[in-house]
């Protein structure tokens, strides 16, 4: 294992302020077992966590959830992020955050707002979100973000029900005044995994969407930044999940457990430490969960001798566990994985089942 001196400084902190959310998106990456409201960290504890994060080298904090606006003390939390010197990014569904409440957040020092939009087609968007009228509220909040002069990112999660409308989604983001749009293919964890058969697009649909994004980047160069999260079930190589385990980012759950990635609790046997008992620096350097897959010593073949081992870090540990049954195995989306055939079988299981909506 690495000596402490070689442990890099993290760049980003995902602060899951609450798991409460008014929407029911079937692709939600929150765990199936959600942290209850009574267990949520208070604003003073978040302020301490932000100070410790900044001292550790963290530059950006992503205020997420659930729906972070479900917290009545959100403005205090934003203020604490700013006071710690962190760049704050609010990741919101826009439902439960009134446009007039946004000014207080901007005043508190918020740097950037990301709004999720479920589809360019309002009826379909509301159906996916499981919330009538969500689409209109999102557009209203986006207008307020732009009016206040804050930069806006629109996050579009792509799956079988909307994958044919990537162009319209990017055009909607432009019309709303976004400077950045994420075309994020569903990643299959949490509720999304439960709904995989209903969400999974075909290989041809994915290939067409990827080509479309390339063309749109050219068309809109200089007007909007288009970032794409790749659909890894159809990839040749795995994604370098969270930029490498315990290497660039950490995730704090509503109740204060610190995870190397938001899905890490699915892996059995990992010991997570909480900010209630430990400083963030101790957790980053010494907690067993962070040490478990840091670096390359834990790897098996084919990862151990792979020339990409420092590039994709063996892919996603959660996916290795969820599909191959072993968190130390190569991420089976990699074509070099002996279990890659399983991924192909799973991707082929596509069924127009009703969504199992996320619920608290």
């Amino acid at each position: 294992m690495n000596a402490p001196a070689q442990i890099p400084a993290p760049l980003g902190l995902l602060a899951e302020l609450t798991h409460r959310c008014p929407l029911g998106c079937p692709y939600c990456s929150n765990p199936l077992a959600l942290d209850p409201r009574v267990d949520e960290l208070d604003a003073a504890t978040w302020a301490r966590v932000f100070d410790e994060a900044a001292a550790l080298g963290v530059l950006q904090v992503h205020l997420s959830g659930g729906e972070p606006a479900a917290r009545r003390d959100l403005a205090d939390i934003v203020k604490a992020a700013r006071a710690a010197g962190l760049y704050s990014n609010l990741i919101t569904s826009a439902v439960g955050l009134a446009p007039q409440a946004l000014a207080a957040l901007a005043e508190a020092g918020l740097d950037h707002v990301q709004i999720s939009i479920q589809d360019s087609e309002p009826t379909s968007a509301d159906r996916i979100a499981g919330y009538q009228g969500a689409s209109a509220r999102k557009r209203a909040l986006a207008a307020e973000v732009v009016r206040l002069g804050l930069p806006l990112t629109v996050n579009m999660v792509v799956h079988r029900a909307n994958i044919g409308r990537v162009r319209a989604m990017v055009e909607l983001a432009l019309a709303l005044g976004a400077s950045r749009v994420e075309i994020a293919h569903v990643q299959y964890y949490g509720w999304a995994l439960k709904n995989r058969a209903a969400l999974m697009p075909s290989r041809d649909e994915v290939a067409a969407a990827v080509r479309e994004v390339e063309a749109l980047r050219e068309t809109h160069r200089g007007r909007i930044v288009i970032d794409a999260v790749v659909p890894d079930y159809y990839a040749r190589f795995p994604k370098p999940c969270v930029g490498g385990w315990g290497r660039r980012s950490l995730n704090v759950t509503p109740a204060g457990r610190v995870l190397p990635c938001h899905a890490a609790e699915v892996i059995p046997g990992l010991e997570f430490w909480s900010v209630r008992e430990h400083s963030l620096a101790d957790i980053w350097r010494a907690s067993p969960a962070f040490a478990a897959f840091r670096g390359t010593d834990w790897m098996q073949q084919p990862c151990r001798s792979c020339e990409r081992r420092e590039q994709d870090f063996g892919g996603c540990r959660c996916q290795a566990f969820l599909i191959a049954g072993d968190a130390r195995a190569a991420d089976p989306v990699c074509h070099l994985s002996p279990q890659h055939g399983l991924v192909e079988q799973l991707a082929a299981q596509r069924d127009d089942l009703p969504y199992s909506y996320r619920h608290s």
Binding site: A9, L11, A55, L56, G57, L59, Q60, G85, Y87, N89, D111, H112, Q114, G149, L150, P151, T153, S179, R180, E182, R221, G222, I224, V225, D227
Partner: protein, 93 residues
């Protein structure tokens, strides 16, 4: 290649911040979901992009500070700024 007017006043847009962080080893440009390392020279240029000085004034100032040929600095800075504008990290007011 570089289409920055001499009279343009470059500035960082809201949501983009230049910061210095010891643990990360120097100057960084923070933007929505992105972090860019800024080398010492880029940081010197970006510190001057306040929306007050014009591009021509920034170049003059850098020529003085670094004692380098104006033509060369003009071209290098224009190239940097144009690249940042394309990435939405800079505005030309």
């Amino acid at each position: 290649m570089s289409d920055v007017a001499d009279s343009a006043r470059p500035r960082l847009p809201r949501g983009v911040r230049l910061t210095h962080n010891e643990a990360q080893g120097g100057w960084l440009l923070l933007a929505p979901e992105r972090v860019f390392k800024a080398d010492a020279i880029s940081a010197e240029i970006l510190k001057r992009c306040t929306g007050e000085a014009t591009f021509a004034q920034i170049v003059d100032d850098l020529v003085k500070s670094f004692n380098a040929p104006r033509e060369r600095i003009h071209a290098d800075v224009a190239k940097l700024l144009a690249g940042l504008v394309e990435k939405k990290l800079l505005e030309l007011a």
